[in-house]
């Protein structure tokens, strides 16, 4: 493994970790709403959240490109007022990873919340705990394993993200090139040995994340 390959893997791991930090708050909120509340349009929200799972990733990429590109209202605002660019920068990598992995986290987190006995939460309420306290002291700890498992699954998905990333962030060595993009470029360069080394590293990382996720789920069900 060359220094360059290690750097690419480090960048990919860092970006995926940041993406996880970014999706935890909205992911928890969405999952909790879907698990514990009935509201009009719930089925639509559920479907929308799951959409990036089944859409072609490049389609999601195009949607994000149009949303954050300099020609869009949002993109122009970010560019002119904040002097930031999303497209072709590491922010684009983060955005693509977050959007593509959010559905996996929300789906697992929702199941984790649903598996917490509602009765326990009600008991805590009757004993005078405020809803926020019930969530922090009863729901969250009891769902922790499932939540962590879901987050690891989402993390593994983010590590391998390709389609949305190449559209939104481009494939810029040293700036937006993740391991998946580097593997693709190495194939084009005909450097299969380096590509295979990165593939192997990506497989090991994904294996560890998925294996841990499965173990956590198995134990939370036991």
């Amino acid at each position: 493994m060359s220094g360059e390959e290690t750097r690419i893997l480090g960048f990919t791991l860092g970006m995926a970790a940041l993406a996880m930090v970014a999706i935890v708050p909205p992911g928890l909120a969405l999952a909790w709403l879907l698990a514990r509340r009935a509201f009009p349009g719930k089925a639509v929200i559920e479907t929308l959240v799951a959409l990036p799972l089944v859409m072609p990733p490049v389609a999601t990429g195009l949607f994000l490109l149009r949303l954050f590109g300099r020609r869009s209202a949002l993109g122009r605002f970010v560019h002119d007022r904040l002097d930031l660019d999303v497209i072709f920068t590491w922010r684009g990598v983060l955005l693509a990873m977050a959007v593509m992995s959010l559905p996996l986290f929300v789906r697992s987190a929702r199941v984790a919340f649903e598996e917490v006995p509602h009765r326990l939460e009600q008991v805590a309420r009757t004993l005078g705990a405020a809803p926020a306290r019930v969530f922090a002291t009863i729901t969250l700890p009891l769902a922790a394993r499932g939540l962590t498992a879901g987050l690891l699954l989402a993390f593994a998905r983010a590590l391998g993200e390709f389609g949305a990333t190449i559209v939104v962030a481009g494939n810029i060595p040293g700036r937006t090139q993740t391991s998946a993009l580097a593997i693709y470029q190495l194939i084009q360069l005909g450097r299969d040995d380096a590509a295979l080394r990165l593939c192997l590293a990506a497989a090991v990382l994904a294996f560890v994340a998925l294996f841990t996720s499965e173990r956590l789920l198995a134990r939370s069900r036991a």
């Binding site: 300099r70 497209i87 072709f88």
Partner: protein
Amino acid sequence: MKRIFLSFALGAGFAVLAFPSAAVEINVSAAASLTDALQEIAHAYEATSPDRIVLNLGASSLLARQIEEGAPADLFLSADEAKMDSLAKNKLLLAGTRKSVLGNTLVVVVPLDSKLKIAAPADLASSSIRALALAEPQTVPAGIYAKEYLQKVGLWRKVIDRVVPTENVRAALAAVESGNADAGIVYKTDAEISKKVRVAYAVSEAEGPTITYPFAALAGSRHVEEARRFLAYLCSPPALDVFRRYGFLVITGPAATP
């Protein structure tokens, strides 16, 4: 023996007449920059021939790689000689069919509504250009040419941090069209088909690299005759006229029928 051959040939002739739908698909792997001209030419060819033209358009580097790995292609239309050389070295070309047919030049483009003042090479180093779109400069011909040009005018080191390498030359054009890149270096022919970019300046012949497009039939072709026929058509006056109309330089005369 002669008679057997003759009856075989006659039989084959009748078979062709009796089953005009027994057409073949000619797989053409072609450089992305040829897209529009080639679609028009393929369409015109299909009106005169039972054969279907299947275009696989992309960066010549990727196409060459696919051919090296045994992808089923009959013709390869490359945007640079190096890709063709590597196929020739691996004996993947059909002997005697390689021919450099077209030429192209580079231009610097900016989005149509851009306020940037770019008129000379030195302007590319301006800090107002944050993203300069090029095709991938290590592998994709358009990118290799652009890098060669920037090195020649002594700008490569200055702009390298702002280069956005893209999949192929059309993706570089699209990045400028969408405004997400402030400028880009593409072929003159690409700039001509786009209504969303304007040419800031054309790279002069003295400063720019020599760009030629070699065409060849491939050794792995399963439809050699049909492939040769389409290759000959590509070098015939009607096809060359289409290429010219899209802004290509024609650097070869019409080929004799093989």
